[in-house]
Every structure is written in structure tokens, then in C-alpha cells.
Assembly symmetry: C3
Homo-oligomer: 168 residues x 3
């Protein structure tokens, strides 16, 4: 399973703040069986976020965005992600938030979405290293099965026993 991580942050793009959440997300994915093929840093700009997403979707099974999921004026990652997704998977974003509440009640403020484009799964996670990793941890057990479904490798609404992971 291949993955690309995109950091969305004006300050990291401008070199004002070191990008810690992108590397944290990449490390987490590497530790969980993903072949992280690349990463990028883009500012909170709709066109640049969209270009980075489209490029990444053409090259990986999983695209993770970190940053721009909040409610500050420049936070537009979810809105842009929505424009490139063919399907939204609300249950995954709900799960990131409800599990996130175990760590901080601010988790509910993340507007990060999960969706699909072709055979690629897209996941928005918050822009702090801790928030990014905690969000990934909340859904990591679902990702292999989701990627299998996108590649038509399992039955339609009918996971094979081999793919069905036991209840957490």
C-alpha cells in the first residue's frame, strides 16, 4: 500500500515554522505497513492544495493531508478536498473525532473529511503532530480493508473472512 503525505500550512510552506506533522504522519504510516512514496508542503491556498491532491491521487493508494482542518480564516483543506472526492465516508471522520475526544475535547473542532477518488483514499488530519497521529491511529485498522475495497479485491459489502479484522 502506497501513501503520500501533504502538509497544508502557510507557515511551513514559508519556512516560518518547521513542518512536524507531515514527518509524524509519514513515520506513523511507515510503521503501519505503508510505503510512503513522497511528501509535499503547500500553503493554505485552494489551487495549490487541489493540485497537490490530484497529483498525489494519481500516484498512491492513500493520500493524507495534515493541516487546515480547523475553523481559522485560512483553514480550507476540507472544502478543497471535497471538490476532488467522488465519495465521502462520513463514518471515518466521525470516528477520528469521537476517538480524538479521548485525548482532547478540541478534537471535535477538526473538520477533516475522508473520501475516495478513483482507487485512492483521502484522509484529512489536523495540523499538529499529536492530532495528526491520533487521528491516523483512530482509523488505521480500517485503511487496508478500505484500500482493498477500492481495488475491487473484496466482495461488495461482503468482506472475506481473511480481510475482516476482528472487532477492536
Amino acid at each position: 500500500m502506497t501513501a503520500i503525505v501533504i502538509t497544508v500550512s502557510d507557515s511551513s510552506f514559508n519556512g516560518v515554522r518547521e513542518d512536524l506533522s507531515g514527518p509524524a504522519a509519514s513515520d506513523y504510516l511507515l510503521d503501519h505497513g505503508f510505503d510512503v512514496r513522497g511528501s509535499a508542503i503547500v500553503p493554505d491556498d485552494a489551487a495549490q492544495i487541489k493540485d497537490a491532491l490530484l497529483d498525489a491521487c494519481s500516484r498512491a493508494d492513500l493520500v493524507v493531508n495534515t493541516g487546515g482542518t480547523g475553523i481559522a480564516a485560512r483553514d480550507i483543506t476540507p472544502e478543497v478536498t471535497r471538490t476532488v472526492c467522488e465519495k465521502l465516508v462520513d463514518g471515518v471522520s466521525e470516528l477520528m473525532r469521537s476517538e480524538g475526544r479521548r485525548h482532547t475535547h478540541l478534537a471535535v473542532l477538526s473538520r477533516g473529511i475522508c473520501g475516495t477518488r478513483g482507487k485512492t483514499l483521502i484522509l484529512n488530519v489536523p495540523g499538529s503532530p499529536k492530532g495528526a497521529v491520533e487521528s491516523l491511529a483512530a482509523v488505521i485498522h480500517l485503511l487496508p480493508h478500505m484500500i482493498d475495497l477500492l481495488h475491487g479485491r473484496t466482495g461488495h459489502d461482503k468482506p472475506s473472512p481473511a480481510n475482516a479484522t476482528p472487532k477492536k
Copy 2:
């Protein structure tokens, strides 16, 4: 309360796989006080799903779709359902997913929605018999009150004591 069940499945429509989830959903509704007026099997095709939904909405208080709620390429039931709904009731789909997690962590992958069209309530449930019944079971206690509301039989945001079911 009348109901119609629509199975959305290419393989059942083509006779390749027996439709088990439609009958399971119908039986569950019959056991819970619904007069199930009919059922249909349609393929994962937008126009046919939409036609079946519109026809069913003109004839029943509750329309349940089973199937096509996942993320595989052909799964489009939620997208089509959205086009016929006048209102969406996100809390009901959230509840189906969060209760579903008691049974399988894959429940969060169901993208099934709940919405209304005129006086009809529409509910998407997953395409496995187990998933369909578990989803219905998660919300069955809400349906009579919702149908009452759609028929103007209870106050606006003010259930009468007779209709207010006690906290589960």
C-alpha cells in the same frame, strides 16, 4: 405504518446471488409493526435506484434501501438517495454507525443516509443481512415518532407524552 424494501445489488438483480438482505429487512420490519407493502431488486444503477425510490416514496411511509452503501466502485446508493431527499437526518445515520460498532468496526464504513421526501422517511442500510438488520435495530425505536412528525401528528419539536418514548 407502511414500508417498502428496495435491494440495491447488481448480483442479486442479475440472479447471481440470492437476495438475503431484502427479505431480512422486510422480516424485521414486519416483526416491528410495519405493513411491508412490497419489495424490489434493482442494480447499482443511478437511474434505476432513483426510479425505485420515487415509486416507493409515493406508496409508503418508510422506504428502506439495502445495499450499495459502501465505498466500492459501484456503491452509489447514498449519492442517489440524496437526490430524492428534501431533508437529511444525519443523527440517524450517525446512530446506525455508532451502534453498529458494537457488532463490527466495519460499521463506520457504511455511508448510508437517512432523509425525508414529503411524508416518507428513507433509510439506507448495508447490503448484508446482518448489517441491514443491525442498522434497522439501532434506529427502529425512532421510526414511529419520525413518521408521526412527517404526518404532522405531533407538535413541532414537542412530542406529546403519548408519543414520547422513554429513554432507551
Copy 3:
């Protein structure tokens, strides 16, 4: 922090039913540090709800609507609110519903949304005094931080220690 409360109710607008939820919401906000600058009662009419929202957004940090969040024919508050919001914060509405379930299982039927317009936060709560206050209580601890974020007073996805409230 300034707030305006808008009651959306045909019967209260027409004087048929006393507006209890608006004053209940105002009192709750006053008790929690908000300077409630005004209130209004509008019928369940799209244009009048929208005008009231736009006017309130130009004058307050927080706008709370009470009423019109259900599924009855006239309930259109969420749909209208969506048209004035620039961003939606689904996690906040999810939290109002999931916390609301502690009080009544009908809480999941509230379709109330949370969103932002410019620097103003908008919150839809149900149209009963109890439902309105319980919904506010579920999210009140988040509101000061959200308003800070909308005013650019905290870092981007990075609440300062002073603003970061401890986990509830």
C-alpha cells in the same frame, strides 16, 4: 463575547405560543459569560430566517437559533443556516446529538448545524427550552476557543496553553 438569540417558530411569531426556548438560551448564555445583545422571533420562513441570521452575524460573535431543527414539514432552519455559513463544523453538531442522547433518545433527530460566517459562530439548537439548553451545555466549553480562532487570536491548529481548556 457577544451573542444574539433567534427563535424560529411560527407559533411564537404569531403569538400562539409563548417563546420559552429563546429566553432559556439567552439566560444560559448570560450565565456563561456571554453579553447577549438581543433576540428576535421569526417564523419558519426561509427569507425571514436568513435575514435575521445575516443581521445577527453582523453584530455578534455568536448567533444561536432555537427551533426548526426537526423533520416536520416547516422545519427548515438547518437548510437556511447552511446558505449563510462559509464553513460547517460537523463535530459540534455531532457532539450536541451524542451528548443529547444522555437526556433523550430523540436528540438524534435534531438536524441543527454549527457553522461560521466571517468571524461569527452560528449554532442551531432545538426548539424546546430543555433541548436548547442541553444542546448549548454540550458545547459551551468549546465556544470561547472557537470564537478566539475566528478572531485570529490563537495559533492555527495550535491553541496556546492559556486557551487550551483541559480535557472535560
